[in-house]
Subunit: 687 residues, 2 copies
C-alpha cells in the first residue's frame, strides 16, 4: 500500500481497470513480452511516461532494491530522455511496493512473483520481495513504446510467477575463457528474460578458471593465466545477486580433470606429468578415487570454494568417465576387487558417495549430471539431465530432484523453435505423478564453449536463450511459434540496445571480412546459410582450443531469420495461399541471391579467410536458380520436361550437404517448390 | 640479433632491401599508418602471412614482452585466421629482438624507438626495450592487407621514434564516471596510436573517484558510489603498463574540491555541510590553505596515492581558483595580510609551494595547470598549458618543463584537422632556443566529461585522438590533411574491429531512436549535422550531471565525414575543376537530403526525443534546395534574378544557427556554391 493513501484506493483501481474496455486475449500474445507472463489482462488506455514520471518505493532498505530501481531509471532515461524522479515521500505515479526483504543468499524457490498494474494515471508494482520487483521492472521496460505524444505503456494487469524455480544458463569458461565483462553482459541478458541461475562451468580438461588460495597451482599450472581472481568471482556474484540471479559453480570431477592434474598430478589415476589439454571430446584423465589423499584434497578445495560461492547448490559434474585409466591401474583394479565393484560405474558411485558427504559437510547440496544416479545417493542430491526427459523422469521417480538440459544445448545450433518445443514435463516426464513432477525444478540452457569465443558468445546465446527462458517461466500451454518468434525479435532488439553484442559482433566480423569492400553482399550471403548442426562441426576437422574461430561459420547466427521468413512464403505457395505480392517477393529474393554471387565472388576470392565461401555462394546461386525455374512452372501453364523434377531434387540434396561447415538453408524451401511443381501440363498451380 | 645467426645477416638484409626497387616517397604517405613513423622506406615486395608465420622472440624474460607478443598473435589470428607459431628456438620468420629490459616503472623519456624491417622472406623488429617492441608490433598490424594469395604486409624499412616523450590522453571521470572496461577500451586505442600517458582526472567538484583507505569518506560521501577500488586501479595500471602506457593521477586542489568537502568539510574555506555538486563550471569551493590541518591531510592522502600510483609524476590540478571564499573568510584574510599576499594568486602560490614539498617528499614530481606558475616553484615542476602555446613558451623560458593541452580539447567538438594543426612547438613556442624547446615534453588530448557518458565517450575520443597522437609522435613536417584524413579513416576502421565502440554506439543510439523504423533516414540526417562547438552547449541549457545525454546531439559524431567529402566536391566546383561526374554527385547528395526530409519526418514527429529534429531536417532540406538552385545557375547559362544571391546568403546565415544543439554543416558548402553563382547572364560557370 502506498503511504498516505487508504488501502481501498488500490482496490478501486483494480475495479476501474476491469470496467475498462478490454481487448481480446490475442492482444496479450502480441505484447512484446518475453517470457510471456502467467496472466495478462490488457486494457485500452495508456500510461504516459512524461515529466511527471516519479517512482515511489515502499519497502525494506535493501541495496538490491535500490540498485534495481536505479538501473530501471537509467533504462527509462536512456530510452525516453525522461529521468524518473525518485520520490521518497511515496507519492510517485510509479509505485513499487515490496512487502519484505529477500533472503540474504538468494534461495531456490524463493517467491519470484509480482503483480504489475498499469493504469492510465499510475502504475503499481507489488511483490513480496525484491526478486519480484526486479522481474516486474523488466516486464514494464519491455512494454515501453513511442508515439507522437510521447512514450507510454499500454494499460495492463499482469499477475506473474514462474512455472519453474530453476531457470539456468550454463556457461562453459574452460574450453574458451570468457572475461568478466562477457559474463556480466550475459547476466544483463538473463535479467531481461528472468533467468535466475548461472551454472558456471569453471573447470574442465582444457582449463581450470578460478583462483584457489589453498591450491594455487590449480590456476598457475591449469589455466594458461586465464582465470578469475576471487575478487572477480565475488564481484560477479554480487552483480548477479543484484539481478535476481544465483551463481552455482561447477567443478567437474572425477573426469574432465586434465587441468587439475597438470597442477596436482598426484590426484590422478596415472602417473604424470600432465599438461592442459588442447583438444576436445571425452578424455581419459580421471582422479584416483581409491586414495584418501584425493578426498582430503577435495575436502579442502570444496571448503574453500563453498565459502567463495554462497549458493546452496554445488555442482560436481560427474559426467563422461570412461574408466580406462582405472582399468589400467593395478592398485585401482585391486581396490575394485576388494570392494566387489563390478565396473567403473560402481567405483564412481563410491566416489560420489564420499564426495556427497564432503559437499554436505560444507553446507551445500550436491548437483551432478545424469551419471551420478548410479548407486545410492541421498535424496537431496539434484540430477541434471543431458541425456533426455526420460532420465529426468526416472530420477524423479526415485525421489531425486532434477533439471533438464537435454534439448537446451545452445552450442548445437538448433533453431529457437526446437528448444521451445522441449518441455521439462514433456515426453517421459508427462506421466509422472504430481508429487514427482514437483521434483523437476526446471532446466538450464547450456553454452558449451568448444566453438565460442568472447567475440561470438553473445550471438550463440542470444536471442535463442529467450525462448528457453520462456519455456521455463511461462505457462505450459504457451506454445505458439509465430508469437514466440515475433516476440523473440523484439527481445533481440532490446538486448542489442541494452549492450548485448550478438548483432554488433556479427556485423563487425563481416566488416572484418569485407575490409574495404561493401559489406552488404556478405550479409546477403550470410542470410542464406547457417552453421552445421549438432556435433557435425567437431567431427569435420581436428579442432583444438587454439584453432582460430574467425571464419564465416563463426560469424553467422545459428538461425537465419531471412530463411525462416522465406520458408513461410514458400509454405504459402505450397498451400496455394500466396498472394501475387508474396509470389513476387519470393521471386525477388531468389533473383537477389542469384545476382549476389557475382557481387560477392570477387572479394571472396580476394581473401584467404573467405575463399572457402566461393562454392557456398555458387551453390546458393544454383539453388536460387532452381527455385526460380520451379516458380515459373508453378505460375504458368508450362510444365517441366520429363526427369526435370528428379534431377533438381538430386541437385538440391547435394546442395544441402555442409560446405565450409555451413548449410544452405534456402535449399529446403526450394525443394518444396520443386516438389509442388507438376510434371504434366495443366493450369498454373498458383497465381 | 637472432640466436644462431651471425650479426651480419641483419646487416645484409638491410643492403638487400636498399637494392630493391623502391617506390616513390608518396607511397609511404599512403600507407595506412597512424601515427606516421619518423622514417619509412617502401619496397616493391610483400611479406606473406601464411602457415609458415612463426614469431621468434629474442630478449629478456619480461612479462610485458610476452603479453605484447600474445596480443599481437591474437590480433593477427583474428584478422587472418593464421595463428603465428611462437618459436622459442629463435628460428621464426618474424624475428623480434628486444635488446634489454624496460624500467620497472615506465619512465618519461624511456627509449621508445624501434626498427621494423619487412622483407619478402622475413620480418625483423628490433628495439632497445619492450616499449619499442609494443610500438613496432602496432605498426606492423596497421600494414596488414588482404589479397587473393592471402594476407601480407608490403616490404618496408621503418626507423621510428617519437618526437615528444609525453603523449597523453586526459580522461575526466568526475563529471561522468567511466567504468573500468571503458577505461581499458581507451587504453587499447591508445596503444594502437602509440599514446603513452593516461592523465586520469580522478577528482573534481562532481565526484571523487578513488577508494582511499586512509580517508574512506572521500569515496563514501564524495562519489555517489561511483569510484574505483584500489584493486581496480592496480588492475588498470597493470593493463596500461602492458601497453606501454603510464598512468598519472590528478587530484585537483585547492579548487575543484566540492566532492572532497562533502566528505571532509573541515578542509574547506567555509563552514559546511557541503554536498557533491551536480552542476558544471567554475565553483567557489576551495580548500583552506592557511591551516596546517589541510597540509597534514594532503600529506597523508598524497602518501597513500603515491604508493597506489607508481608513476613518477603526480598532478595536483591547481586551476580555476576564483578566491571568493578566501576573501569571504576573515581568518584567511588575516593570514593573507600577515604574509603580505596581495591577492588570491599569492595565497595559492604559498599553497603550491607547501604542496610541492609534500609531493616531492613522497618521491614524485609535481605537475599542475598553467596557474601554478605564479610565484616561486622549484624547476622540476611540470606545467600543463590549457591556455595556449604562449604560456607554455613562457614556462619553458623560466626553466620549467611543459605540456600542451590547449588546442587538444576533444570535448569542444573541433575537427581533427584543427587539433592536427596545433604544434607544441608552434606559435609562441617557435622562437624558443633549442634548450628551451627540449623542456616542452609533449602534450595531452583532453576528454573533459561534462557531455560524455560511457555510451558515447569512445565516439568523442576516437578517431580524432589519432590525429593528436600523430602530431605528438611524427616529424613536425608531416602536415598534409588529405593524407591525415585518409589514414584516420583506416585507423577508425581498425579501432572498430579492435572493439572500440565509437561506431557501434553511434549506430545503436540511432537504432534506439528509430525503434521499429528504418534507421537509414536518421543516418542520412546525422551525416549533415555536427554538435555545436566550443562551450556553446554548456551555455545553451542548465546542464547538470544528472541531465540525460541521450539526444541526437549526443549520438552524432563531432565531425561529419560526409560533410567533409561534400565540401571537397564543392571546392572543386568553385575552383572550376569539377568533373561532370563530381557535379552529378553533388546533385545526388543534395537531392537525397531534400528527399530525406519526407522520409524522416513522420518518425521524428513520433518520438518525444526526436521532435526537436523536425526543424533540423526541414532546415537541411531548405539548404539543399538552395544548393540545387545554385548548381543550376552555375551549370547553365541561366542567371538568378536580382537580389537572389543576397537573399540566399541571408537564409544560409540563418540556417547556420544552432538548432537542437546541432549545426548544419552542409550550409557552409552551399554558401560557397551561391557565392560562386553570377548574377549577370553569360556562359555556364561550370560543366
Amino acid at each position: 500500500m502506498v503511504k498516505g493513501r487508504p488501502p481501498k484506493i488500490l482496490f478501486l483501481s483494480v475495479i476501474v481497470m476491469s470496467l475498462m474496455p478490454l481487448a481480446s486475449p490475442e492482444d496479450a500474445a502480441k505484447l512484446p513480452l518475453m517470457p510471456m507472463p502467467a496472466k495478462v489482462q490488457t486494457g485500452a488506455g495508456k500510461f504516459l511516461i512524461d515529466k511527471s514520471f516519479a517512482i515511489a518505493v515502499r519497502g525494506p532498505a535493501e541495496s538490491r532494491l535500490e540498485q534495481a530501481v536505479e538501473r530501471f531509471r537509467a533504462s527509462v532515461v536512456r530510452r525516453t530522455g525522461i529521468l524518473g524522479q525518485l520520490d521518497t515521500d511515496g507519492l510517485g505515479n510509479f509505485v513499487i511496493t515490496c512487502a519484505g526483504q529477500g533472503e540474504k543468499i538468494q534461495r531456490l524457490a524463493e517467491d519470484e512473483s509480482y503483480h504489475l498494474e498499469v493504469a492510465s494515471g499510475e502504475v503499481h508494482l507489488d511483490a513480496p520481495n525484491p526478486l519480484g520487483v526486479i522481474h516486474g521492472l523488466q516486464t514494464f521496460l519491455q512494454l515501453i513504446r513511442s508515439e507522437p505524444e510521447g512514450f507510454f505503456v499500454p494499460t495492463v494487469v499482469i499477475e506473474d510467477a514462474p512455472r519453474f524455480p530453476w531457470r539456468g544458463l550454463l556457461i562453459d569458461v574452460s574450453r574458451h575463457f570468457m572475461p568478466v565483462d562477457v559474463i556480466k553482459r550475459q547476466l544483463d541478458g538473463m535479467e531481461a528474460v528472468k533467468l535466475n541461475v548461472v551454472h558456471w562451468h569453471l573447470s574442465d580438461d582444457q582449463g581450470f578458471r578460478v583462483e584457489s588460495k589453498k591450491f594455487p597451482k590449480l590456476q598457475k599450472l591449469g589455466s594458461d593465466g586465464q582465470y578469475y581472481t576471487q575478487e572477480q568471482i565475488k564481484d560477479v556474484i554480487a552483480y548477479a545477486r543484484d539481478r535476481g540471479i544465483r551463481i552455482m559453480p561447477e567443478f567437474d570431477v572425477p573426469g574432465h580433470t586434465t587441468s587439475w592434474l597438470a597442477a596436482y598430478p598426484d590426484l590422478g589415476s596415472e602417473r604424470g606429468p600432465h599438461t592442459i589439454s588442447r583438444h576436445f571430446g571425452v578424455h581419459d584423465a580421471v582422479m584416483d578415487p581409491t586414495r584418501d589423499h584425493t578426498y582430503h584434497f577435495l575436502d579442502d578445495f570444496i571448503g574453500e570454494m563453498s565459502r567463495l560461492f554462497p549458493d546452496e547448490y554445488f555442482h560436481i559434474g560427474g559426467d563422461e568417465v570412461n574408466g580406462k585409466l582405472w582399468e589400467a591401474n593395478r592398485k585401482i583394479r585391486q581396490f575394485k576387487r576388494r570392494h566387489h565393484f563390478k565396473n567403473g560405474r560402481d567405483l564412481q558411485s563410491y566416489f560420489n558417495q564420499r564426495l556427497q558427504k564432503i559437499v554436505k559437510s560444507h553446507g551445500k547440496v550436491m548437483v551432478g549430471w545424469d551419471e551420478i544416479l548410479h548407486g545410492n545417493l541421498p535424496q537431496d542430491v539434484v540430477v541434471q539431465s543431458w541425456r533426455g526427459q526420460q532420465s529426468l523422469a526416472d530420477a524423479a521417480r526415485q525421489g531425486y530432484r532434477g533439471l533438464l538440459s537435454h534439448g537446451y544445448y545452445l552450442d548445437l545450433m538448433q533453431p529457437a523453435s526446437q528448444h521451445y518445443s522441449i518441455d521439462p514435463l514433456g515426453n517421459g516426464a508427462a506421466l509422472l505423478s504430481s508429487e514427482e513432477k514437483r521434483r523437476i525444478l526446471g532446466g538450464e540452457a547450456c553454452m558449451w564453449a568448444e566453438f565460442v569465443t568472447p567475440e561470438n558468445i553473445d550471438a550463440r546465446i542470444w536471442p535463442r536463450a529467450g525462448a528457453i527462458a520462456e519455456r521455463l517461466w511461462s505457462p505450459q500451454e504457451i506454445v505458439d511459434l509465430d508469437s514466440m518468434y515475433s516476440r523473440l525479435q523484439s527481445l533481440s532488439n532490446e538486448l542489442n540496445l541494452m549492450g548485448l553484442m550478438h548483432r554488433v559482433s556479427y556485423t563487425r566480423m563481416l566488416e572484418r571480412f569485407a575490409g574495404k569492400n561493401d559489406v552488404f553482399p556478405l550479409l546477403s550471403l550470410a542470410d542464406a546459410v547457417e552453421p552445421v548442426k549438432g556435433y557435425t562441426r567437431a567431427r569435420s576437422r581436428a579442432y583444438e582450443t587454439t584453432t582460430p574461430l574467425n571464419r564465416f561459420v563463426d560469424a553467422v547466427p545459428p538461425e537465419s531469420d531471412a530463411a525462416r521468413a522465406f520458408a513461410g512464403l514458400v509454405q504459402k505457395v505450397v498451400n496455394q495461399q500466396a498472394t501475387p505480392a508474396e509470389i513476387a517477393s519470393i521471386r525477388d529474393h531468389l533473383s537477389a541471391w542469384i545476382d549476389n554471387d557475382s557481387k560477392v565472388e570477387p572479394f571472396l576470392e580476394q581473401s584467404l579467410l573467405l575463399k572457402e565461401m566461393v562454392p557456398v555462394s555458387q551453390n546458393l546461386k544454383a539453388v536460387a536458380q532452381i527455385g526460380l525455374d520451379a516458380l515459373d512452372y508453378l505460375s504458368t501453364n508450362m510444365h517441366p520436361p520429363a526427369g526435370w523434377k528428379q534431377q533438381q531434387l538430386d541437385m538440391l540434396k547435394q546442395a544441402q550437404q555442409p560446405q565450409a561447415e555451413l548449410l544452405d538453408v534456402i535449399a529446403p524451401s526450394v525443394q518444396k517448390l520443386v516438389e509442388a511443381a507438376r510434371e504434366e501440363s495443366g493450369d498454373p498451380v498458383i497465381g
